[in-house]
C-alpha cells in the first residue's frame, strides 16, 4: 500500500470513530429513553476506544506482544504503541463498570417511577 | 452680697413689671376686641380682677403631683426666660435700666428658645395627669402647632445670627444701637417670617385651636381652676411680655426706657390681636402646613438675603 492510501484510510478510521462518538452523543442528548441514553453513553465510549486504538496504529506495525520471534519481527516492523492499547483496555473495563452501574440505576428508576422517559424523572430540581 | 440683693430685687421688679404690663395688655386686648365687636367691653383692669378672683377661689381637689407641678413649670419657664431677656437696653439712659438687666449676659438666644418651651412641657404634663381627654387633645394640638411655627421663627433668627455673627440678644441690641437701623428694616423678610411665628406663639385666631372653648372645653386648662388657673394666667401674661420684649429687642431696636418699651410692645402686640379678631380658625394640620408655606418661604428668603 502506498502512503496516500494509508493516510486516507487513517482519516477514514478517525472519522468513523468520531462519527460513532457523535452518534452516541446524539443519543445521550436527544433520546428520551433512559436505556437509549445508557446505550448512547456506551457508544460514545466505544467510539472513543476505537479512536484511541487507531491513534496508536502504525503502518505495518506489529502487536506489542513479547512472543517468540518478536525481536526478529521488530527488526523491520515497528511495534504498535502498547500504552494506548493498555489504556483502552482499562477504559473498556471502566466503561463496562459505568454501564453496569447505569443499568442498575435504570432498573431502580423503573421500579420507582414505572417509566423510562427521562423528562418525567424530575423529582429533584431547582 | 449687696450685688446679689440688688439682683434679686431687680428680678422681683422685672417680674412685677412683666406681670402688670402683661395683665394690662390682656385687659386692653379684651377691651379692644369688644370695641371691634361694637361692644362696650370690660374695663382694662378686668384681668386683674379675674386673677384676684381666681386666686381667692378655693381649690379643693387635685389629680396628682404633676397637676401641681404643671403650673409651676409654666411659671418657671416664664420667669426664667424673663430673667434672660433684656427688658430695656442695658446701660441705657434711664436710671432704672440696671434693674432690668437681670441675667442677660448669661444666656443667648438659643438658650432662650429652649427655656421657653420648658413651660409647655410642664404644662403638658400637668394637663396630662388630670386624665381629661380634652386637655390631652389640646396639648397635642399645641405641640403640633409649635412644631409648625418653630421653623419660620428659627429661620428668621438664624438669618439674623448669620448677618451679625452673634447669637447674643444684647449684641443684637447693640448692633441696632450702633447702626441706627432696626433689624426689621435690615432684614425685612426675617421680620415677616418672625411675625408669622409670633402670631402662632400667641395662639390668637387663626391659631387658637389649642384652647378652642366650644369644642375642647378650653383644652389644656380644662381641669384647672382656682389658683392653678391663676398661676397659668399670670404666667401667660408674663410670657407674652417676654415674647414681645424679645421681639422688640431683636427686630425693633430694643427700648431705652419704659415708655418706649410699652409703645413698641403694644404696637407689636396689636398685630396678632387685630388679625386674630377678624380671622377664622385653622384646624391643626392647616395651621401647621400654613407655617410651612409662606412663612417658610419668607424665612428662606431671609436666609438668602442674609447670605447675599
Amino acid at each position: 500500500m502506498d502512503n496516500t492510501y494509508y493516510d486516507l484510510l487513517t482519516y477514514v478510521v478517525y472519522g468513523s470513530a468520531i462519527l460513532v462518538m457523535l452518534i452516541g452523543l446524539y443519543a445521550v442528548l436527544v433520546k428520551k429513553s433512559l436505556l437509549k441514553i445508557v446505550i448512547g453513553l456506551s457508544i460514545v465510549d466505544s467510539g472513543l476506544n476505537l479512536l484511541i486504538v487507531s491513534l496508536g496504529y502504525l503502518k505495518n506495525g506489529t502487536a506489542p506482544i513479547f512472543s517468540k520471534g518478536f525481536f526478529e519481527l521488530a527488526a523491520d516492523k515497528p511495534m504498535v504503541d502498547p500504552l494506548l492499547q493498555a489504556l483502552v483496555l482499562t477504559a473498556i473495563v471502566i466503561g463496562f463498570g459505568v454501564t453496569a452501574v447505569a443499568l442498575s440505576l435504570v432498573i431502580r428508576l423503573w421500579r420507582h417511577h414505572h417509566t423510562l422517559y427521562i423528562d418525567e424523572i424530575k423529582n429533584l430540581k431547582w | 452680697m449687696e450685688h446679689i440683693l440688688i439682683k434679686i430685687l431687680g428680678a422681683i421688679a422685672t417680674f412685677i413689671l412683666a406681670f402688670i404690663v402683661g395683665m394690662t395688655y390682656g385687659g386692653v386686648v379684651r377691651k379692644i376686641t369688644a370695641r371691634v365687636h361694637n361692644r362696650l367691653g370690660p374695663p382694662f383692669y378686668q384681668n386683674f380682677i379675674d386673677a384676684l378672683k381666681l386666686f381667692s377661689k378655693k381649690t379643693a381637689i387635685h389629680h396628682g403631683v404633676m397637676h401641681f407641678l404643671g403650673p409651676a413649670f409654666l411659671m418657671v419657664s416664664s420667669v426664667v426666660s424673663l430673667m434672660f431677656v433684656p427688658v430695656l437696653i442695658p446701660g441705657g439712659d434711664s436710671w432704672y435700666n440696671s434693674w432690668f438687666s437681670n441675667m442677660i449676659y448669661d444666656g443667648d438666644l438659643i438658650f432662650l428658645i429652649y427655656i421657653m418651651v420648658f413651660g409647655s412641657l410642664g404644662m403638658a404634663l400637668g394637663a396630662g395627669q388630670t386624665g381629661n381627654p380634652n386637655s390631652s387633645i389640646g396639648i397635642t394640638r399645641g405641640l403640633s402647632q409649635m412644631v409648625g411655627y418653630e421653623i419660620p421663627w428659627v429661620l428668621a433668627l438664624v438669618s439674623l445670627m448669620l448677618m451679625y455673627k452673634t447669637t447674643s440678644i444684647v449684641d443684637f441690641i447693640n448692633v441696632q444701637q450702633e447702626t441706627g437701623t432696626w433689624l426689621m428694616f435690615a432684614n425685612p423678610f426675617a421680620f415677616i417670617a418672625g411675625l408669622f411665628a409670633l402670631m402662632g406663639m400667641f395662639h390668637y385666631s387663626p391659631f387658637d385651636i389649642i384652647g378652642a372653648p366650644a369644642e375642647l372645653a378650653s383644652g389644656p386648662v380644662s381641669e384647672n381652676g382656682g389658683k392653678f388657673l391663676f398661676t397659668m394666667m399670670s404666667s401667660g401674661s408674663v410670657f407674652s411680655f417676654v415674647k414681645l420684649t424679645l421681639f422688640v429687642d431683636i427686630f425693633m431696636g430694643g427700648a431705652s426706657n419704659l415708655v418706649v418699651l410699652v409703645i413698641k410692645t403694644f404696637t407689636l402686640y396689636m398685630i396678632p390681636v387685630l388679625y386674630g379678631i377678624v380671622s377664622h380658625r385653622y384646624r391643626t394640620e392647616q395651621a401647621v402646613t400654613f407655617f410651612w408655606k409662606w412663612p417658610l418661604f419668607f424665612g428662606l428668603l431671609a436666609v438668602l438675603y442674609a447670605v447675599l
Binding site: 424523572i121 | 397635642t140 405641640l143 447674643s168
Partner: protein, 615 residues
C-alpha cells in the same frame, strides 16, 4: 491584662450560659461577676496607652491599646454595661432564654471594649462582627418576627461589615499594613480613587451601625424587638461604635482629602435628615419601644451631624451627646423595660396612668425626657446648644433649621412617651401594678440623675472629651469653649449653666411651694375619673384617656412625608432580588439530559472562545 479582661468576658459568657443551665441563681451570680469584675478591672487597670497587648495571628499583628477617644467611649460602654447588668437580673427573671441573653450581653460588652482597644483593622473587624452577631442573637431573642427583623438587621450589618472588610483589605494591599495609625498617617499614599472609595466604604460600614438615613431601616425594629435590658446597651453604647468609627474616618481621613469637605457635608446632611425623619416617625409610633428606637436614630443623627461638621465645638457637642444620649436613652429604655416587666405591655394605648404606681420610674423618665428634649438645665441642652452654635458658625444655616425642627418635633414624642405611660386616667386593670424592684429603678434613676449633674457641671466630662479631641488632632480647646460651667462659642456668646440651674430651682421651688402650701389643707386627691365630662360620670371600665390617633393632626400635616417610606423601596428591592434568584435557579431543571447539554454547550463555548481566553 487587657487580654485577660477579654478572656474573662469570653469565659464568663460561656460559664454564665452553662451556669444558667445548672441553676438560675448561679447563672445570675456568674453574670454579675463576669460583667462587673472585668469591667472594674478595665476601669482600674487599663490606662490610655498605645500598645497594651499584642498578638500575631495569621501573620497579622493584632495590636491592642487604648486611645483617649476610645477611653471616652469605653466609659460609656462600661458604665452602661454595669448598670444594665444589674438591671437585667431583675428584668430577665421569669423570662425565656435567659442563658442566651446573658451570653450575648457579656459578649457584646466584650466586643465593644474590643473594638475600642483595637489599634488595627483586623481585630477591629473581628470584634465588630462579634458585636454584630451577639446583638443579632439579642434582636431575635424573643422569637417574634425573627425572619424579617432579624434578617433585616443581619443583612444591613453584613452590608456594613463587608464594606469595612473591603475597605480594609484594600488598605492593606495599598499600604501594606492593617494598623489604624498607618492607615491614617499614610492616607495620602493611596491612589486618588481609593482615597474616595475607602472613606465611602467605611462610612457605609459605620453608617449602618449608627443608623444614618438610608441605612437605618434595620434599627427601629431591631431596637424594639430586643429585650429592653439590652436595648439600652444597643442604643446607648453599641450604636456609638458606629459613631466611634465615623469619628475616626471623618476626622482622620476626610480631612486629608480635597473632596473631604463635600463628603462631610453630605454626611452632615444625611445626619440632619436622619434626625428629622426619625423624629417624625417616632411621633407616629404607638409603642414605647418603637418610639424610643426611632428617637435613638434621631439622636444619632445629631451626633453624626456634629461629627461630620467636625469643628471643635461640633465635635465637643457630638462627643458630649454620645455620653449623654447613652445616659438618658439608657434610662428611658430601662423605664420601658420596667413598665413591660410590671404590666406586660408597652403599648401606649393599653397602659395608662402609671405615675402614681411607678413614681421612681416616672421621675427618672421625666428627667431623661427633659434631657432628651434638650431643655435646660439638663445635659441634653448643653450638647444641643453647642451643636447649634457650631453649625451656625460653620455656615450651615439650613442644617441648623432642620435640626431645630427635629428637636422641636421631638417634644411631641417626648410628651407622647410620658403621657402614654404615666399620665391619663388610671385604670382598674393596672391597679395591681407596683413599682419595679430596686435593682431596676436604681440604675435608671442613677443614669437620669447623671444627666442632671452633667447638665450643670458639664466640665466633668469636657476634660476627657478634650483629651480625646487632642488625640484626634484638635488644638487644646481647654479655656476656649468653656470655663467651669459656662459655655462659649467662637463668637463669644455664652450660656452660664449654674445660674440657670439656680434660677430654675429657685423659681420652681417658690411656685411649687406657693401652689402646694396654698392649697395643701383644702386640697385632696381625686381619681382621674373625676373630671369635667359634661356632667357624665365615667364608669369604671370607661377609659376616656386620649390615646388613639394621638398625634393625628400632626400626622395629617406630615402625610406627604409619611407616605414615602425608605423601607418600602428596600423591601421591593429584596423581593425583586428573590424573584430574580428564583428565576435563576431554574437553570437546574432537574433533567439529566439538560445538564448534559449544558456540558456540551459549555465545552463548545469554551472551544469557540479559546482564542480570546488563551491567546
Amino acid at each position: 491584662m487587657l487580654t485577660l479582661i477579654l478572656v474573662i468576658f469570653l469565659g464568663g459568657a460561656i460559664l454564665t450560659w452553662l451556669g444558667r443551665k445548672i441553676n438560675p441563681l448561679l447563672g445570675d451570680l456568674l453574670f454579675l461577676v463576669s460583667v462587673i469584675l472585668p469591667a472594674t478591672m478595665f476601669v482600674m487597670n487599663i490606662k490610655v496607652g498605645d500598645t497594651i497587648a499584642q498578638h500575631t495571628l495569621l501573620g497579622i499583628d493584632l495590636v491592642w491599646g487604648l486611645s483617649p477617644l476610645a477611653h471616652l467611649f469605653s466609659l460609656v460602654v462600661v458604665g452602661l454595661g454595669v448598670m444594665l447588668s444589674i438591671y437585667s437580673i431583675s428584668y430577665m427573671r421569669g423570662k425565656e432564654k435567659v442563658g442566651m441573653y446573658y451570653f450575648s450581653f457579656i459578649l457584646s460588652i466584650m466586643a465593644m471594649l474590643g473594638i475600642l482597644v483595637s489599634r488595627d483593622w483586623i481585630s477591629f473587624f473581628i470584634f465588630w462582627e462579634i458585636m454584630t452577631w451577639s446583638s443579632y442573637l439579642m434582636v431575635i431573642l424573643n422569637g417574634k418576627k425573627v425572619q424579617s427583623i432579624g434578617i433585616k438587621y443581619f443583612v444591613f450589618s453584613a452590608l456594613g461589615a463587608y464594606s469595612m472588610l473591603m475597605a480594609l483589605v484594600i488598605i492593606n494591599s495599598q499600604l501594606g499594613s492593617f494598623m489604624l495609625s498607618d492607615t491614617f498617617n499614610n492616607f495620602q499614599h493611596l491612589s486618588p480613587a481609593n482615597q474616595i472609595l475607602i472613606p465611602v466604604l467605611l462610612l457605609v460600614a459605620f453608617g449602618v451601625k449608627s443608623a444614618v438615613m438610608p441605612l437605618h431601616i434595620w434599627a427601629p425594629d431591631a431596637y424594639s424587638n430586643s429585650p429592653m435590658g439590652y436595648t439600652a446597651v444597643f442604643s446607648g453604647a453599641l450604636s456609638k461604635m458606629g459613631v466611634y468609627g465615623l469619628v475616626l474616618v471623618i476626622i482622620s481621613m476626610t480631612t486629608q482629602l480635597p473632596a473631604g469637605s463635600l463628603i462631610r457635608i453630605i454626611v452632615a446632611w444625611l445626619g440632619g435628615f436622619t434626625a428629622a425623619a426619625a423624629t417624625l416617625w417616632a411621633i407616629t409610633q404607638d409603642d414605647g419601644k418603637k418610639l424610643l428606637a426611632w428617637s435613638s436614630i434621631g439622636q444619632l443623627g445629631y451626633i453624626v451631624t456634629g461629627v461630620a461638621i467636625g469643628t471643635p465645638l461640633a465635635m465637643l457637642a457630638a462627643m458630649f451627646l454620645v455620653v449623654v444620649h447613652a445616659l438618658f436613652k439608657g434610662s428611658l429604655f430601662m423605664a420601658v423595660g420596667a413598665i413591660e416587666k410590671q404590666t406586660g405591655t408597652t403599648d401606649f394605648k393599653e397602659v395608662n396612668g402609671l405615675i402614681r404606681k411607678m413614681p421612681v420610674t416616672f421621675i427618672s423618665s421625666l428627667l431623661s425626657i427633659i434631657a432628651l428634649a434638650g431643655i435646660p438645665p439638663l445635659a441634653g441642652f448643653v450638647s444641643k446648644w453647642m451643636l447649634y452654635e457650631a453649625l451656625i458658625q460653620n455656615h450651615n444655616y439650613l442644617l441648623v433649621v432642620l435640626l431645630f425642627f427635629a428637636s422641636t418635633a421631638a417634644f411631641l414624642y417626648a410628651y407622647k412617651f410620658l403621657h402614654g405611660y404615666f399620665l391619663g386616667q388610671e385604670e382598674p386593670e393596672w391597679a395591681h401594678v407596683k413599682e419595679a424592684p430596686m435593682s431596676m429603678t436604681i440604675p435608671m434613676l442613677l443614669l437620669a440623675l447623671t444627666t442632671f449633674v452633667l447638665g450643670t457641671w458639664p466640665q466633668l466630662l469636657f476634660n476627657s472629651i478634650d483629651s480625646a479631641m487632642q488625640y484626634l488632632g484638635y488644638d487644646a480647646t481647654n479655656g476656649k469653649l468653656w470655663t467651669d460651667s459656662v459655655l462659649f462659642s467662637q463668637w463669644g456668646d455664652k450660656v452660664a449653666l449654674q445660674p440657670v440651674l439656680y434660677a430654675i430651682i429657685a423659681v420652681f421651688l417658690f411656685f411649687a411651694i406657693f401652689l402646694y402650701f396654698k392649697g395643701r389643707k383644702a386640697t385632696r386627691y381625686v381619681t382621674t375619673k373625676d373630671i369635667s365630662t359634661s356632667g357624665e360620670i365615667p364608669k369604671e371600665w370607661e377609659n376616656l384617656t386620649f390615646k388613639v390617633n394621638f398625634m393625628q393632626p400632626f400626622e395629617r400635616a406630615i402625610e406627604p412625608f409619611l407616605k414615602r417610606q425608605i423601607e418600602k423601596y428596600y423591601l421591593g428591592f429584596g423581593k425583586g432580588m428573590e424573584a430574580l434568584f428564583d428565576f435563576t435557579r431554574r437553570i437546574y431543571t432537574g433533567n439529566g439530559q439538560t445538564y448534559a447539554i449544558y456540558a456540551i454547550v459549555f465545552l463548545a463555548l469554551l472551544l469557540i472562545f479559546r482564542v480570546s481566553l488563551f491567546g
